[in-house]
Symmetry: C2
Subunit: 440 residues, 2 copies
Amino acid sequence: MSDPLKVGVLGLGTVGSSVVRLLEEKQELLKSQCGRPVNVVAVSARDKKRDRGINLQNIEWFDDPLSLAISDKVDVIVELIGGEEGIARACVESGLKKGHHVVTANKALLAKHGVALAKIAEKKGVLLNFEAAVAGGIPVIKAMRESLTGNTISRVYGILNGTCNYILTRMLNECMSFKDCLIEAQKLGYAEADPTFDIEGHDTAHKLALLTSLAFGSVISLENIYREGISNISLADIQAADDLGYRIKLLGVALKTHTGIEQRVHPTMVPTSSVIAQVQDVTNAVSIQTDLLGDLLLSGPGAGGDATASAVIGDIADIAKARPGFQNGPVFGRPAVMLNPYKKARMRAHAGGYFIRLTVHDRAGVFATVAKRMADNQISLESIVQRPMEKDCLPNTKTIILVTHETTEAAVRKALLTITEDGHLIDKPQMIRIERPSSA
Amino acid sequence: MSDPLKVGVLGLGTVGSSVVRLLEEKQELLKSQCGRPVNVVAVSARDKKRDRGINLQNIEWFDDPLSLAISDKVDVIVELIGGEEGIARACVESGLKKGHHVVTANKALLAKHGVALAKIAEKKGVLLNFEAAVAGGIPVIKAMRESLTGNTISRVYGILNGTCNYILTRMLNECMSFKDCLIEAQKLGYAEADPTFDIEGHDTAHKLALLTSLAFGSVISLENIYREGISNISLADIQAADDLGYRIKLLGVALKTHTGIEQRVHPTMVPTSSVIAQVQDVTNAVSIQTDLLGDLLLSGPGAGGDATASAVIGDIADIAKARPGFQNGPVFGRPAVMLNPYKKARMRAHAGGYFIRLTVHDRAGVFATVAKRMADNQISLESIVQRPMEKDCLPNTKTIILVTHETTEAAVRKALLTITEDGHLIDKPQMIRIERPSSA
């Protein structure tokens, strides 16, 4: 049995407290699995007096997280402070430079500074593990970084935000409005008081940026993500999608096209018969499409103290199992100095199917005009549904729902612009992109 | 850049040929990902002259696989010969004893001799990787062995055989009989000429035995798996299940009960709304239930040359990334000498819901008798469906379908025995166990 692995934990919120508690509770199991004890020897957090329900008696307390990050008393630092700059960044950077292994759940930090931090880690020959930063406890980083070595990835997409998936699931199952579902999610603690970061897709974008780099061997490029949130999705969309055999999910999607890399976060229709359509409530899922393996899907809890701690502990265990002299694979699958520049595909060149919902004046000729505008833009239609007036609608209105065959974003935008100018629309047109598993 | 990793491949069937071809085709990608070249330097197979569509010019040919296994010219041997004894076993054992790392896809070998081989590997400080042995390209071994370190697993279950899942999917979607689906699967190459190993659940049992050991830290115990195949499943079962909101899948299930470990392979009803119910055709899926993470599901291709080769290459890459002095985690998650003895739970004590389909004489009092027999055995019922005579049935017969609440295997067996003795049945009673995701 080797020397214990000495762990320092920075940040004692929900996840940090879980990590400290579980490394204590599970010490016998971890010792047998890792071949050595794993001990938390130091922690740092803002308030020493707060009761976190964990025993800190034999653990050294650091008031200054940076002192812990560079302390000789630890082998690994676990950064659970959060935030893309400030103390979190300083601790990770200093820790790596000191020669400590780092485990972090900080997606914002990595989405912004991941490549620079990976360069430091690789130069110092230490590990920078971040399984918990994407999709909580789901081992998607390990799968992409290790299991899929040798695979050429063509697309990765996933449900990466539990709050949004919860809201969309409830809207469908309980016929509730977006607003009511959001209030409910806030009451249950699934959504923040200010929910913008989740529901507008920023959280999903951070996670997607990391997956994209792993998938395509390119530098991380958060700023090149096209982003739409779910606040614009109505119950009418959800129900129309259901009738047509689709579910609406907030997906992060990254794929390689002939013009570059497409990264997008938006509400997406997926076939109800697909596996990802059945991923409900706060559960996350990631689908990875490769040349050798085909389609791999991973699904599980994307958040929560213990689920996220599980990913952190897995990362710590990988370090514990490694021995001096050991050198693991690179942080983003390829050495950071060898990551390709990011080449952006134009969003207007995006090709796919579209769901379009139009609320129009109920008068003669409207449908013919809409159909003509589609034809003018070479958009062919898979389904057309013209609904009778629905109970909540204004009098003398009707709803036209179109599902297109594969077309381009540019064609759809142009058609909708012309239809809007025609003056038949009562509301802004609704447009939702369709994503299909490769086998569907 | 370090020295190349020298790989010897034993067996050049579909997977072996894919591995050799892909390590050549993907050499640049692998070099950047692993930090060193990965080269196939030696192969051994039965027929040197056979055209496998791969270039063997710069690769040394060994007529005797055992000589390759112990050759100083390789660092790793990849065993793709198959079979639980004979030359495959001799090669793996000799290779490990020689101090070579071993990668194998041989589930039969590991299900029988895995613990003994792991002891050799751990004593010699080499890796024995077997991702390809279970669920093809799906990284379930890595997830259980590495990502879930520190988790206590309560249940693992999965669709582990593509042939069976294909047949069951086709029966439902095309309203075809088991026999016709099997013939179709044979034509498409999804089923062997002698399909027994797949359809009677032996293949699933081999894979389950390995997952059970990883899940519970116990020695592998293939002989303690309760096993039923799918040849007994009729279209009537599939359709009745569908009406009731279930799909029928051949699952391998391992769980811990208060009396021990339950390992079973049998046709299983899962709720149609569950993710695993949507896993179709030859796709495999594994669900793992743990205390920290909750439920993790992985799904993807369970067979095929390139998909299986992907898992083999991932295993080789893990070895390539490791450096001298490195010591990975133990083969079955815990050191082989520390694996617990296997404690078997009695199948008759199995608790769960049951689907029961009875074909009875259409006469007064039959249903009352059936209901009484259930009540006599303290079995309470969730659904009762009494169907009118179906078109293919004999005249004067009807079908009674029962879905029970949780009860025991012993109670159900006793009730069915008594019902059979009552003389109202025309056919053998059909009984299918229900498995629910923890969240359903």
